[in-house]
């Protein structure tokens, strides 16, 4: 008998969606529990006492925290519709790019959480552009997706870029993903958002942007 799967998540969190996409792509049934991050549930605190953060996946009563750890767990537990390559070297490369994105994600948030009247941090913008260039040239190359012809964990890990880059433009007037300068990455965003599972599981952009704006005040 299949053990129950529960996901504690938050509709505003990109980390949460990574897990949703992986579960949906593999056809795994799960119960979703929306957490109010300003009023964390006892269940969340019990299942992730170290970081007290979402997402947390609970499988047969056993909790797993940290989105990237969860993604690897999902891949190993439900091997159908594989999201990581079989070859060990290719897997190491995939893991490298996933970590690269996560480490850089923190720089992007600097740009968002500046006060609205402050001019966007020039150095942060330069760093973001550099980051996107590396992604396009070295990680994506001429492939349709980071995973090749089909999406994989690297695409899922970078999915947050789609909404965030748009929000960067709307909130801070900073446009970094232009089809003229980053054509392949720009195409990737469009392709990624067209995938049915992704399309059906993205927060409403307007609602999400409003939430981001309110969080800053």
């Amino acid at each position: 008998m299949e053990e129950k799967v529960k996901l504690l998540g938050c509709w505003t969190s990109g980390y949460s969606y990574r897990v949703i996409w992986a579960l949906k792509l593999k056809g795994v049934e799960y119960d979703y529990i929306e957490e109010d991050l300003r009023n964390k549930s006892d269940m969340l605190l019990q299942f992730n006492p170290v970081h007290k953060k979402i997402p947390v996946l609970v499988h047969g009563g056993k909790p797993i925290a940290e989105s990237l750890v969860i993604l690897e767990y999902i891949e190993e537990t439900w091997p159908e519709s594989p999201l990581l390559p079989k070859d060990s070297y290719e897997r190491a490369l995939a893991r490298f790019w996933i970590k690269f994105g996560d480490d850089k994600g923190r720089t992007l948030s600097v740009l968002f959480f500046q006060a609205p009247e402050e001019k966007p941090d020039e150095n942060a913008i330069k760093e973001v552009v550099e980051f996107l260039k590396i992604l396009e040239e070295k990680a994506l190359g001429d492939k349709k997706y980071f995973g090749g012809n089909n999406i994989g964990l690297v695409d899922i890990a970078y999915g947050w870029l789609c909404h965030w880059l748009r929000a960067l433009e709307d909130m801070r007037g900073v446009k970094v993903l232009e089809p003229s300068t980053l054509p392949r990455l720009h195409a990737w965003v469009e392709n990624f958002e067209q995938i049915p599972v992704i399309q059906e599981n993205l927060p409403d952009y307007t609602k999400w942007l409003a939430h981001l704006k309110s969080r800053r005040n």
Binding site: Y73, T77, S88
Partner: protein, 219 residues
């Protein structure tokens, strides 16, 4: 065809040490190349253009970067002996979670402890003690973080042992007094040849840090 394995590394790096231990555990023959981080080699810059960092494993000409990614790669390719990760997916997730915790918390706070002064250093010490308390609590009564046998989390954390004297000296506390279980665990790990032969002497690391502070004007 014989495997060609090269490791670009820097002797005091706890990240590099992880890879050295993993290679030793698996009995893999490799060529060690010491990098001068202030004058990085052409090979390093070519093989790791994104980060230009060590450790860097080159296996039959193909580079693998990031210490924990390298360790997982080694575990998958040389899977005939000394497994570094458990086979059960839930236990693997548990191991990855704690190795990630070590990666994100332990290095940074240790560095702040020896590189800062005054209030900043006091805050770092407080953070350091909290983080190590969390780790000691996770270890509990187990002989290793991995349970009965040495595993991935042990590997990710034990390499900081060579830096303990640095932390004690600058933080002005005793690791043994504050964290007796962690110290007992380290001593247990040091009975393994692969670890005892890999970890540099604590005093050598301390001298290295004194030099570093001089060079960067952090005295």
């Amino acid at each position: 065809m014989a495997d060609e394995v090269v490791l670009l590394d820097f002797w005091p790096s706890m990240f590099g040490m992880r890879v050295r231990i993993a290679l030793a555990e698996k009995g893999i023959k490799y060529q060690y190349k010491e990098e001068d981080l202030r004058h990085k080699s052409e090979l390093l810059l070519k093989m790791n253009p994104v980060h230009k960092q060590i450790p860097l494993l080159i296996h039959n000409g193909k580079p693998v970067c990031e210490s924990l990614i390298i360790v997982q790669y080694i575990d998958e390719v040389w899977n005939h002996k000394s497994p570094l990760l458990p086979s059960d997916p839930y236990q693997r997730a548990h191991a990855r979670f704690w190795a990630d915790f070590v990666d994100r918390k332990v290095y940074g706070v240790g560095r702040k402890l020896w590189a800062t002064k005054g209030e900043e250093q006091e805050a770092a010490k407080k953070e350091f003690l909290e983080i190590y308390k969390t780790l000691e609590s996770e270890l509990g009564e187990k002989p290793y973080f991995g349970g009965e046998t040495f595993g991935f989390v042990d590997l990710s954390f034990v390499t900081f042992y060579s830096w303990f004297y640095v932390y004690e000296n600058f933080g002005k506390f005793s690791m043994e007094a504050e964290f007796p279980q962690i110290v007992a665990w380290v001593k247990r790990c040091m009975q393994k040849e692969s670890i005892a032969n890999t970890l540099p002497d604590q005093k050598k690391i301390y001298e290295f840090v004194l030099e570093l502070k001089k060079i960067f004007g952090l005295e």
